[in-house]
């Protein structure tokens, strides 16, 4: 087998790397930090020994929480299959138990079921197990479980792995966006290097990270965020190289209308006014306006600050007061710097948006998708794809209807997808017994210019009905 002399170093785990731990079907994103206890599936260990090993290595957890690399056994999975196959033939003779074999169970695990749930499945779905081989079966499962519980695989983070992790562990944090639905979004959105993409999401930063991965550090991404600040935990788990971050902009949605109206003043020194701190030279109305908006919605990190300052209460009052005074001063200083940074960021993001020539728009949030889409679609160039996710169908029906009325988009399509995994084993091939009930809904389409070709850009829009006259029943 040829090896064209690739440098291995980029394939090895380094300290500080964001990695994903895997055991069976369970994933967890962590950062490699030396001498730091990591808890994974109720077991703790240190990741120190992972440093320097290749990504994809499986480790045994040995006494003292030390990791010990395990050599990959090439034929492990097929050996498993054969072993199970042999036992299974006996179960088949028993009349019923082929319906939930050990392999089924393993596959169930692969599909995201926890051990407890699997045992329940066992009891509920296949009491033939109990009739004859209950003890052996449980023993086997325990053995299997144990096997998984003692090993952990260290994976390089990727959209695939993180999307499956979030869907399996914390679907509520990502609006129940299923991995295959996310896959559709990235493809329908034509997300690729060199484009300018707008992302509005409340999916823990997973969607943002997925978009950035597909852009590979080329082009620009603007995260349109609601509330106090952009959420990025999910994106950070991707462990992107630092230059990726240079392509990422952020823009608080409470300034969207001002920007669209051309009244957003990003030159102002105190664009952010979440506290009562004096800032003497406020003078123009625009600023007041944006300040108001800020104080209402865009107050960054106030909660975090509260948490920091609410320590220590009564003793040694004098010295403390002094320190508090000092802290406040420092914090004031820090705040100014932060605000200046924020102003610059806002200006940069506004500059990216102002041309209204973005190449893609990806929306996946707990907000009503209709006003979000109708507001943000204005930033897209003509002939560009957009895709909106919602956990529910009804809001997207509204979205579809409003967009048809308003015009400016064609090829509208409301879809969802259906995914089913299979157990593929000799003489025991069938779909996995449990499947996901739903993965959410997508509305996708392509923008078109709303003005007539030879006219100026500000000509009034025609009524949608006229513009859509060529189309059949549902599409523009």
């Amino acid at each position: 087998m040829a090896d064209n002399g690739d440098n291995d170093s980029q394939h090895r785990v380094n300290e500080g790397d964001y990695v994903v731990l895997k055991r069976g079907d369970i994933y967890k994103a962590v950062q490699i930090q030396k001498k730091k206890k990591t808890v994974f599936e109720k077991q703790w260990f240190f990741l120190d020994n992972a440093v320097g090993e290749l990504y994809g290595t499986t480790f045994e957890v040995v006494t003292g929480g030390t990791l010990q690399p395990r050599k990959p056994k090439c034929i492990e999975s097929s050996a498993d299959a054969k072993e199970a196959g042999t036992d299974n033939r006996n179960i088949l003779d028993d009349g019923k138990s082929q319906k939930l074999t050990r392999d089924d169970i393993e596959t169930l695990k692969e599909q995201g079921l926890k051990g407890q749930e699997i045992v329940q499945q066992l009891i509920e779905n296949s009491t033939t197990f109990r009739d004859k081989t209950e003890f052996a079966q449980e023993k086997y499962i325990k053995k299997k479980k144990k096997k998984y519980e003692n090993s952990v695989m260290v994976l390089r983070p990727s959209c695939r792995v993180l999307a499956m992790m979030y869907h399996g562990r914390e679907p509520g944090k990502i609006c129940h966006l299923r991995y295959d639905t996310l896959a559709q979004m990235l493809t329908l959105g034509n997300i690729h290097a060199g484009s300018k993409v707008l992302v509005f999401e409340t999916c823990a930063g997973l969607v943002l990270g997925a978009v950035m991965e597909r852009m590979g550090g080329y082009g620009s991404v603007v995260q349109m965020y609601p509330g106090g600040g952009p959420v990025r935990a999910g994106m950070e788990s991707f462990g992107f190289p630092s230059h990726f971050h240079d392509t990422l902009h952020e823009f608080p949605i409470c300034h969207v209308n001002a920007l669209l109206a051309g009244v957003l003043d990003t030159e102002a020194k105190d664009i952010d006014a979440d506290s009562g701190q004096a800032n003497g030279d406020k003078s123009n109305l625009t600023q007041t306006d944006s300040e108001k908006a800020e104080s209402k919605e865009c107050s960054p990190d106030t909660e975090d600050q509260c948490m920091e300052t609410s320590t220590s209460t009564d003793p040694a009052a004098d010295k403390e007061r002094e320190e508090r005074e000092k802290l406040r001063e420092i914090r004031g200083q820090e705040k100014k710097v932060k605000m200046e940074e924020k102003r610059k960021k806002l200006a940069a993001a506004a500059a990216v948006l102002e041309g209204r020539n973005a190449d893609g728009l990806v929306i996946a949030s707990r907000f009503h998708p209709c006003p979000v889409l109708l507001g943000l679609i204005k930033f897209l160039a003509p002939s560009r794809p957009f895709v909106v996710y919602s956990q529910y169908k009804e809001p997207l029906i509204e979205c579809y209807t409003k967009l048809r009325e308003q015009g400016g988009a064609v090829s509208l399509r409301l879809t969802d997808s259906w995914i089913r995994h299979y157990q593929v084993l000799p003489n025991r091939t069938h779909p996995v017994l449990l499947m996901s009930g739903g993965g959410g809904y997508l509305l996708s389409g392509t923008t078109v210019a709303t003005d007539t070709p030879k006219m100026g850009p500000n000509r009034g829009e025609e009524p949608a009905a006229k513009r859509l006259k060529l189309t059949e029943t549902t599409e523009g």
Partner: protein
């Protein structure tokens, strides 16, 4: 009460279904003097059940209350003691229609298992049909026969304890329909054919694995069965929900003169009726293979 005839009032010896709430039920055998413990307290059969109308509310000892329902094959499927993996209503419904069962049909079934399908078949073929059900496992066969008697459908069914692949159904030329739910259905295809009427009928085989389907289809074709068709049915449940969707605050689009101009409050939201799927659903039960035995 019987599984093939409704009664208005609960009587001694009946099976009743105690409905405790969403997806929470339990079957009881009604007996003079007996008591049943529920999470809402004790139900005293003599006082609380016997003589009451099916479908009425029964107050338990702790003050909570439950509904007492008349058994149906579908409620039984949800409440029966599992001696084996069972068939559920979605598959049963399709089996019943595709086998063209109706009052008077003579049906052969193997294996009896926990009797989930058997009760549904009996309901449909009563009062003039008959079910010949074959169960390999002796205890299961005995238990099933006992249940059929208790459920007052014993006169409609013959339970046989034998290996259908070796000994067949114990009847010849009488069945309008045959149902197979065994590990090697292809070994019973010949027996199925023998059990069926000379003028033909319908057969169904239920198998979880595609390899079983492949072998069975081949065996059916070899035995001259026609209209061979394999299908799969899944039930999707839609839970009705009211959801709240927050509206985004895009701020003001003009320099405001007075601070009293209030923009959309940031906590604005709309309420919406929708349905959500359960997080997990049954992704597979088994493949259903149907075929017609032509008349000869």
């Amino acid at each position: 009460m019987s599984f093939v005839e409704y009664s208005e009032f609960i009587q001694e010896g009946d099976v009743a279904i105690i409905f405790l709430g969403h997806d929470s039920m339990m079957p009881v055998k009604v007996q003079q003097g007996a008591q049943t413990q529920t999470r809402y307290g004790v139900i005293r059969h003599s006082k609380d059940l016997i003589g009451q109308r099916f479908g009425t509310k029964v107050t338990c000892s702790k003050g909570g209350w439950v509904y007492v329902l008349h058994p149906t094959p579908e409620l039984w499927t949800l409440n029966l003691p599992h001696r084996t993996q069972i068939l559920y209503t979605t598959d049963i419904a399709n089996i019943t229609m595709m086998l063209e069962l109706k009052p008077g049909s003579v049906v052969c079934e193997s294996g009896t298992g926990s009797g989930s399908l058997s009760h549904a078949i009996l309901r449909t073929i009563a009062p003039t049909g008959h079910l010949h059900t074959v169960e390999f496992h002796q205890q299961r066969a005995e238990k099933a026969a006992e249940e059929f008697r208790e459920h007052r459908v014993g006169h409609l069914v013959t339970v046989r304890n034998q290996d259908v692949c070796k000994e067949g159904f114990g009847v010849t030329g009488v069945a309008d329909a045959v149902f197979l739910d065994i590990p090697s259905p292809w070994e019973a295809v010949k027996h199925a054919k023998n059990a069926m009427k000379r003028q033909g009928g319908r057969v169904c085989s239920f198998s979880p694995c595609i390899e079983q389907v492949q072998k069975t289809v081949e065996a059916l074709a070899d035995e001259g069965f026609q209209e061979i068709s394999t299908l799969e049915v899944l039930l999707r449940v839609h839970d009705v929900r009211s959801i709240t969707l927050p509206l985004p605050d895009f701020g003001s689009d003009q320099p405001l003169e007075t601070p009293t101009d209030t923009p959309v409050p940031s906590n604005a939201s709309v309420l919406c009726k929708t349905t959500t799927p359960p997080r997990d659903m049954a992704g597979h039960t088994g493949y259903l293979t149907f075929a017609t035995k032509p008349s000869v």
